[in-house]
Amino acid sequence: MNPVLVMHQVRGGYGDADILHGVSLTVNPKEIVVIVGPNGAGKSTAMKAVFGLVKIRDGAILFEGEEITGWKPDAIVRRGISYVPQVKNVFAEMTVHENLEMGAFLAKSVKAEAFERIYTLFPDLKAKRNALAGSLSGGQRQMVAMGRALMLNPRLLLLDEPTAGLSPKYMEQIFQICRDVRDTGVAILLVEQHAKQALAFCDRGYVLATGSNRHEGAGQELLNDPEIAQMFLGG
């Protein structure tokens, strides 16, 4: 089966300086792939590159076999990718329901089933549908952000540190939701600070450092590698 996403030797950055020095990665259908690595490694930048938010000077990005390098974010959303940024990822002054509506902004009209699907995935949100997103706890806000991103039925979901600042209980819940989302046929690429937990839960992982690939493999394989454990996972 064709990969959902292929990043091939991507080089680029925000201004003139390169942040990514030839990053490559692949996400296959129904896979959960995690990117780990030290702070400032370029993990978020790699994710933004997929979503058209970074100047790409070399390399290529393919989605379902079609090259999307250099596309604008709204064209990428229409093509079937959704992105949840690390920070400021909800409309704080809008209700939970309105956040979901904004997720479907490009669809012009939204069926009630689309909302039901999200509320089934995130039962906590249904009760809070008329609450302002800014008034929710960190974990619930993350659910709003993910729900918003899932409104248009993407086939690939990009999540930048979805568990940052959350309690272990919420982290487990978010990971479980990721599995549920994956089981509906959505491939997931996520960046994680909680490297050990994330590698244990994902299908495959990539270790990124200073804008380049360092290691890749099945999550458990990476966890068991003593060199990686020492260098990147704090022993």
């Binding site: 979503f51 974010p73 709204d74 959303v77 229409r78 992105y83 940024p85 400021k88 990822n89 909800v90 409309f91 704080a92 002054e93 809008m94 309105e98 509506e101 904004m102 997720g103 902004f105 490009l106 012009k108 918003r148």
Partner: protein
């Protein structure tokens, strides 16, 4: 002084000018919330709207009330064009440049009005309109229409922002512009829409100012401080805040005459502005902090 006198001579005029300030302040607060700069040409945009209505009344012999919606539409169009010509190319530059540009546009609009309509005060219609008594409340029909129209416009705008797809897009853009763009909201369309609303409401503010007093080419500029004070008092970016802020400023201005010499009336908006910036810079409704 009896309660009725207080209401007739201070509260009603305060609410009238308060409604006018509110209409101007809504535009200022929307522009600040969505486009992120202070629009100093807003008062003169109101002046332009008032004179466009005067032009329609004079040339086509329309009733002022028929001229109002047409003047609102024309001013909305002018606002969109002004943005295209003078503000849009500054979009990526520091916002202070756009603020300065808006000061220039203010002078320019006023000069155009002065060249076309002259500098002498004018009125929409001559003759004295007597106030009618509603159980002791003295009201002129134009005052009732001012209230009713301002209320209608505000309710319409609030419903638009709350329930329609593009209204929500405007709120999203004000709330989190990056995320709004990620959702596919077109920045340009939202900007255009913001100017249509702000321009139309500014014209209505100018018209009501003109019909309740007189038209002069400084009318909008003189009301600008009160409109800004109203927007900031209510909370920048908050439409309901601009309404409450406008009414409070209008009322305080009129009531200040009871305790202060009347030449200080204009200064009360300034004092309120300073106080709110010191005590609660986010405003009554928790808007953006400048």
């Amino acid at each position: 002084m009896s309660g009725l006198e207080l209401i007739n001579f201070y509260v009603i005029p305060g609410l009238i000018s308060g409604s006018i300030y509110a209409l101007g302040a809504i535009g200022i607060t929307l522009i600040f919330g969505i486009l992120r700069y202070a629009h100093f040409a807003h008062g003169d945009m109101a002046t332009l709207g008032a004179y466009v209505a005067l032009g329609l009344v004079g040339s086509l012999a329309l009733s002022p009330w028929v001229a109002l919606p047409i003047a609102m539409a024309i001013t909305a169009l002018v606002a969109v064009v002004l943005d295209r010509v003078f503000y849009r190319h500054l979009e990526t530059r520091p916002k202070i440049l756009t603020v300065m540009a808006s000061l220039g546009v203010a002078l320019m609009l006023r000069s155009v009005v002065q060249v076309v309509w002259g500098v002498d005060p004018q009125v929409y219609s001559t003759g004295i309109v007597r106030a009618e008594s509603y159980g002791g409340l003295m009201l002129r029909s134009r005052e009732l229409i001012t209230f009713a129209t301002a209320t209608g416009l505000v309710l319409f705008l609030m419903a638009f922002l709350r329930y329609t797809r593009w209204g929500k897009a405007m709120r999203a853009m004000s709330d989190n512009p990056e995320l709004a763009r990620l959702c596919g909201v077109n920045n340009e369309a939202v900007t255009r829409l913001t100017w249509v609303i702000a321009g139309a409401l500014a014209a209505a503010a100018g018209f009501f100012l003109g019909i309740n007093t007189e038209l002069n080419t400084m009318m909008g500029w003189s009301a600008l401080l009160a409109m800004f004070a109203a927007a900031i008092l209510g909370g920048v970016g908050r439409v309901e805040g601009a309404v409450v802020g406008g009414l409070v400023i209008g009322l305080v201005e009129e009531l200040s005459v009871l305790v202060l010499p009347s030449q200080y009336k204009m200064a009360t908006a300034f004092v309120i502005l300073i106080l709110i910036l010191l005590v609660r810079p986010q405003g009554i409704f928790k808007g953006k902090v400048l």
